[in-house]
């Protein structure tokens, strides 16, 4: 994992967000709010 990616994940966790690999209906059934962000410069 690139250093920048690791940093992003760490910072998001500090922002009290929980990245998930199961977006969509399954996640929505368990959570009232699901957010998807698009970031650039990752390839």
């Amino acid at each position: 994992m690139k250093k920048e990616t690791s940093l992003l994940l760490s910072l998001l966790s500090l922002a009290c967000a929980s990245p998930t690999s199961a977006p969509g209906d399954q996640a929505l059934q368990e959570n009232p709010v699901v957010v998807t962000i698009a970031v650039g410069g990752v390839t």
């Binding site: 998001l12 500090l14 009290c16 990245p19 690999s21 009232p32 709010v33 998807t36």
Partner: protein, 133 residues
Amino acid sequence: MRRSGVRNFSFNIDKGLGTFLPAPGKPLDLVSIQGAVKKAGFPLLGAEATVRGSLRKVQDPLGKPALALAANETGQLFYLNAGSTPAEQEALNRISSWADKKAELSVHGKIHSPAGTHVGLSVLRFDVLNQGG
């Protein structure tokens, strides 16, 4: 800050897409998330959200009449706006009939103009999950 509420830790970084759940019982603080993305050196290209809750007639942060979706659990208000396309404007028109009813809705839209926990949402589509009493 603390790491509470982190339940798993994966991210589709190849596509540049990340899906996040606010920590349980806490309002979405998009400013913090934007700050985290910026600090990590990535440009934030856009954000969308799906929110479950009930629709209310409220005043927006500027005191103007507005429609807002009060999220389940936290009650956080997502101020609904018409998007830029006719379909998005039609979606807002259709959803307005559910204001101040006990119906539970699921609304998906583009996030914009966040200020702290005040979040604007341009409605792309919605579903009625429960028509209430």
